[in-house]
Amino acid sequence: MKVIPASDCSILIEFGDAITPEMQDRVLGLFYALQAQQDASIRNLHPGYVSLLVDFDPLAVIHDEVAAMIASLENAAGAVREAEANVVELPVCYDTEFGPDLTDVAAHTHLSVDEVICLHSSAMYRVCFLGFTAGFAYLGGMPEELHTPRLATPRRAVAGGSVGIAGSQTGIYPTETPGGWRLIGRTPVRMFDPQASQPTRVLPGDSLRFVPIDRARFEELWQERT
């Protein structure tokens, strides 16, 4: 574990340089242990693939104090959080209207569209961390057969709920943004709701599975949501 001052009000804890499930356990273990401290001088925690960034109030604490707090939690960090078992089942409609790049992904991976859908929805994913935009989950665990490069030219607008593939990653756009991922479907579930007590549908460490639904079920769930 490397403790690096990242700025005058933050520290980066680096656990290594390879993305492995064990590394993720350590990042998330420390993240949840620090969060449980509810220390008012800690402002923000940013878990990443192999590191945790800790922002603090530099008028309240100094780097050494934060580093000491982290060192004291290092053992606790090995413990898996209780919510770790939380499995989110996310309904996805793999319709070509929602997934305009489905056929391209199938062509690139030498699979049929049905095989792409089957592979994508049979894997169990892990929410490594959230970033990029509010509620956007970096998911680990996409089957290698599905790896497809991102679009050469990003779309100006991707609808909220769109599910896409980019290289070895898959993810869900929580809200409408520009984006270059290959779109293969859409979820009717609201991934980000700033007014909710839990604003994001998933949390770091959650397990996630995509459950295929047909267009009629999508419309039903969409109605329920609004």
Binding site: S7, N44, L45
Partner: protein
């Protein structure tokens, strides 16, 4: 009590200190780009120093007061008129019912802050009144102000503003390089590349916003092109994308990113970043973390000492 937005100005939002505790959900801090000026404006009218205020960018707003209101403007100078009279910045002023405040273009910075006694009354979202433009929440309806908006003000209870000492703000005017500490990936760059970064004068690009200030100038390239595993971004991080043109990650920043960070603006100088305008020149100078903390402590002491007794 209400204020009518006659003209919104170029880009006006409600901001407070920031939204903390949500970075792990991908939510940026937002908050005032020049927090020190927001605090001064609030203290002038007797508010809590972090009360929600208006952040006006480059061209100020035109506002109609429906009731008697105490207000103060701080930050960048913008030629303001209240009714027929010129309005002095950095002092509390009373607007009577029916008066119109017209704020002009900023002349010496990018952002002016308007505080009203009582503070703007907007719902807190995740503990903050700050507008999150990309997420479309917080502030006034999660967006910048538009003509016709009606802003609500909290009724002030026993608020007592304090005037500034004459010339107090001049002591804190700072020119010269923006101070930075070393970034987490500074060693991705050769000693020469890092020296070039510190020697260069960059220009603030017109593509800049509250999420990031894009700089144009000497390209800085890492020793080798390797892929960074996406990690957390501290406020004020200076990241270097593939084209070598640095970007200062700012209050509406992404919480994680995949470009190497060569340096980080110190907390005490973030307010200066908030006042940079497109086409301004920027230079950087490295300081130690201890010096950065000292500068922040000095700024806090200064803020306590600038008021008349």
């Amino acid at each position: 009590m209400t204020i009518r937005v006659v003209k919104p100005g170029f880009f006006t939002t409600v901001q407070d200190r920031a939204r903390f505790g949500c970075a792990h959900l991908g939510i940026s801090p937002a908050g005032a780009a020049d927090l020190l000026s927001l605090r001064i404006a609030n203290l002038l009218v007797g508010n809590d120093q972090y009360a929600p205020a208006l952040e006006m960018t480059l061209l100020g707003a035109m506002l109609g007061f429906e009731e008697r209101t105490i207000l103060a403007i701080s930050g960048a100078n913008c030629e303001c008129r209240l009714g027929q009279d010129r309005l002095a910045a950095n002092s509390a002023v009373e607007a009577s019912a029916g008066m119109v405040l017209q704020c002009g273009s900023t002349t010496d910075g990018a952002r002016s802050y308007l505080a009203v006694q009582g503070g703007f009354d907007v719902p807190l979202v995740m503990g903050s009144a700050s507008t999150d433009i990309r997420g479309r929440f917080g502030g006034h309806d999660g967006r910048r102000l538009q003509a016709g908006d009606v802003l609500h003000i909290r009724r002030a209870e026993k608020a007592r503003g304090r005037p500034l000492r004459t010339g107090a703000l001049d002591q804190m005017k700072r020119t010269g390089p923006i101070r930075v500490t070393r970034g987490v990936q500074h060693d991705w760059f050769s000693v020469d590349a890092y020296a070039n970064f510190l020697a260069a004068t960059y220009t603030v690009s017109e593509q800049s916003d509250r999420a990031g200030l894009r700089l144009k100038g000497v390209a800085i390239l890492p020793r080798e092109s390797k892929q960074l595993l996406t990690d957390g971004i501290p406020l004020g991080a200076i990241q270097v994308p593939q084209d070598g043109q640095p970007i200062i990650l700012f209050v509406d920043q992404q919480t994680t990113g995949g470009y190497p960070k060569i340096a980080n603006v110190i907390a005490a100088d973030m307010r200066r970043i908030g006042q940079l305008r497109p086409r301004d020149g920027v230079q950087f100078a490295e300081v130690s973390i201890a010096n950065a903390i000292e500068a922040l402590d000095a700024q806090e002491r200064w803020l306590k000492e600038i008021w008349q007794d």
